[in-house]
């Protein structure tokens, strides 16, 4: 709690303020936005609204978890939207064999894309932005080859997964929360997590220290691919349809925004999973707020742009210790 204390002398030092804002600004923003909504938005405090927002934010959050890992290694994964599309195509094709098998096949598909991206980055030495860009273009193409047009998904298990809840908390939100806890644990408490952060801090240093740089990088992108595939599976369950041409469009941008707004620096070496969760919720809530107050959706894009620039600006000076 000492870090949270708003000591006045702390703000005399500009760097301390910037560091504080980078770490906790997202919670501050989220608090302000929640307060605004509680006071000024009709029907905001209701179980139904909570369920709607939670269900909508879950896929973005799951994708953002994988993105946070990639960004932690000073990388980026632009292929996540395409992986979601690939996932929804595979789910449609294999649902006949049961939802579990469909999920497994979808996850395998995501893992293959992640493996390809990770290998290009770690073994060949291609820049992450380029490697995953190529997979983004090709991945959606493959998704559309597998399933050329929108297809309804009629499966009782899938629809109860997409719309059901436990004591008012949707399954989707529970799954997202569980994955966030696991990812947070992996980053903070495991050797793999420490290696990941060391690579993000300085890849040459990690190499000199004898860390398995290639293996860790490949695993990171495989994780990102698998998480995006899970998000695609859940989105399919929620929408009760597979639409490979539109599912996951611009998802990479939303995920990057959530991660960056949550205080994870793009320069790597640090990952904030709690902040990423808060970042994803903040963006979801911002969009919902603007729509509920009858502002056209064009304004949500402009607002999102301003939030991105502010968040990165706040994060820039103390990007690295």
């Amino acid at each position: 709690m000492t870090e949270l204390a708003l000591d006045k002398s702390m703000f005399a030092d500009r760097h301390a303020l910037v560091a504080w804002l980078q770490r906790y600004g997202v919670y501050l923003g989220l608090g302000v936005l929640l307060l605004f909504n509680v006071l000024f938005t009709d029907h905001f405090v209701s179980g139904e609204n909570f369920r709607t927002q939670a269900v909508q934010v879950s896929p973005v959050l799951i994708v953002a978890l994988g993105m946070a890992l990639a960004i932690g290694t000073e990388g980026i994964d632009l292929s996540v939207g395409a992986v979601m599309a690939l996932s929804t195509s595979l789910v449609s094709l294999y649902l006949g064999y049961g939802p579990w098998l469909a999920l497994l096949v979808a996850m395998a598909g995501g893992a293959v894309v992640g493996l390809a991206g990770g290998s290009l980055i770690a073994v060949v030495g291609v820049q992450p932005i380029v490697a995953t860009l190529a997979l983004m273009v090709g991945g959606r193409g493959i998704a559309l080859v597998l399933l050329p047009q929108l297809k309804d998904v009629r499966d009782p298990a899938m629809s109860s997964l997409g719309s059901g809840d436990v004591a008012g908390v949707p399954y989707l939100a529970l799954i997202a929360a569980a994955l966030a806890l696991i990812t947070g644990f992996v980053v903070r408490r495991t050797t793999f997590g420490r290696q990941l952060l060391a690579i993000g801090d300085s890849r040459p240093a990690a190499q000199l220290a004898g860390l398995p740089v290639r293996r860790v990088l490949i695993v990171v992108y495989v994780c990102s691919g698998v998480l995006a595939a899970i998000a695609g599976f859940l989105a399919t369950a929620r929408l009760q349809a597979s639409d490979p041409s539109s599912l996951g469009n611009l998802m990479e941008l939303s995920a990057i925004t959530a991660v960056v707004v949550g205080g994870t620096p793009l320069s790597g070496g640090r990952v904030r999973i709690g902040g990423t969760v808060a970042g994803a919720v903040l963006i979801q809530l911002l969009t919902a707020t603007l729509i509920k107050h009858d502002l056209p959706s064009s304004w949500t894009q402009i607002a999102q742009a301003v939030v991105i620039v502010l968040a990165v600006y706040a994060a820039r000076e103390r990007g690295k210790r």
């Binding site: 060949v124 820049q127 490697a131 273009v137 090709g138 056209p296 894009q301 990165v312």
Partner: protein, 340 residues
């Protein structure tokens, strides 16, 4: 995204001085890197002409040229940005915004139809450049934000895409997009002139030299007295300006400001630039290569259309696979040159 520390350790030798001073190392590798795309384009064109009667017709080639012209103009600006060590993700949105502004402005005459989008889009580029150069924010993030903002602005101007502004049929502005000169569409001529000017600017002027220097090694360029910030601001402004011009010409060509255009255009432009031999790490690149890159992507698309039985999804698969191939080859060649 591209960490500055990478540039410090790896980039210096890779930057050729404008004017084409030979570098140490394997000349063949350099040739492959610079002209690989041209060879691939030539082979593909020959194979396509032999395989399909409908490929090497004036109509088909004219279509390829006109549809390439707009992306090529965007890719020209992107080349400057990437050679300078940055990236511009906002071009697709700026292209769409430029088109809508031009179509709206065309009711007040050709001058407004051209100047309004150019001014607004150059301003967006200027803001990008200022944010990148003066605050040290990652180009990737800055232009991502302006991509959202420009698209939002365009949607606000068109009542969420519900309003389409039309270009008057017989106006001079419409002629700019739809006219023909010696049987070749006006946009193709305009693009050709822009590319010539761009090549001269990048290879033969002090500004071009600075773009290479800043992209090769920012710190070194700064120490040698190059105006790093001003160079960056200029390339992003140029990129915004060219994307806006391409959007305006496209609006003239289609006779309306179509709001759904430009999605994924930044990816096409980046892909073309990379295929053309420009290194994404900056400091090395060719304007001519970007033009070849655009043509190559368009010819692949055209050939897939000619095959007919393959649907458009395969275009993306082939483009993606092709991009992976080129990037792997470029990385490998780049590494050889650095070692050499």
């Amino acid at each position: 995204m591209t960490g500055t520390k990478e540039h410090v350790t790896t980039a210096p030798q890779a930057a050729p001085v404008a004017g084409g001073t030979p570098w140490r190392g394997d000349r063949l590798t350099a040739l492959a890197q610079q002209h690989g795309a041209l060879v691939a384009l030539a082979i593909l064109a020959v194979v396509a002409s032999l395989s399909f009667d409908s490929f090497a017709t004036t109509d088909n080639l004219g279509n390829i040229a006109v549809s390439s012209a707009f992306v090529a103009t965007v890719a020209l600006g992107m080349t400057f940005v990437i050679v300078c060590g940055g990236i511009d993700l906002s071009v697709g949105s700026v292209f769409a915004l430029g088109g809508v502004l031009a179509a709206w402005g065309s009711q007040y005459g050709t001058l407004v139809a051209l100047l309004l989008p150019l001014a607004v889009c150059a301003l967006i580029g200027l803001v990008n450049g200022l944010l990148v150069a003066r605050t040290g924010l990652a180009p990737f993030i800055v232009t991502l934000a302006s991509m959202l903002a420009a698209r939002g602005l365009m949607l606000a101007l068109t009542d969420e895409g519900a309003n389409t502004y039309l270009v008057g049929k017989d106006s001079f502005f419409a002629t700019l997009g739809q006219g023909k000169l010696l049987g070749v569409g006006t946009p193709v001529w305009i693009t050709a002139v822009l590319f010539l000017a761009g090549a001269v600017l990048l290879r033969r002027t002090r500004f071009g030299q600075r773009v290479y220097a800043v992209g090769g090694n920012e710190q070194a360029a700064g120490l040698m007295g190059a105006p790093v910030a001003r160079t960056k601001i200029t390339v992003y402004t140029l990129s915004g300006l060219l994307a806006g011009l391409a959007g305006a010409l496209n609006a003239a060509y289609l006779a309306s400001g179509v709001t759904i255009l430009g999605y994924g255009m930044e990816l096409d432009a980046i892909a073309a630039v990379v295929i053309g031999g420009t290194l994404l790490t900056g400091g090395l690149g060719y304007v001519s290569g970007s033009l070849v890159g655009v043509l190559l992507l368009k010819v692949i698309q055209n050939v897939i259309n000619q095959i007919g039985s393959l649907d458009s999804a395969y275009q993306q698969v082939v483009s993606g696979a092709f991009l992976v191939l080129v990037v792997v080859a470029q990385t490998w060649l780049g590494r050889r040159r650095r070692a050499g």
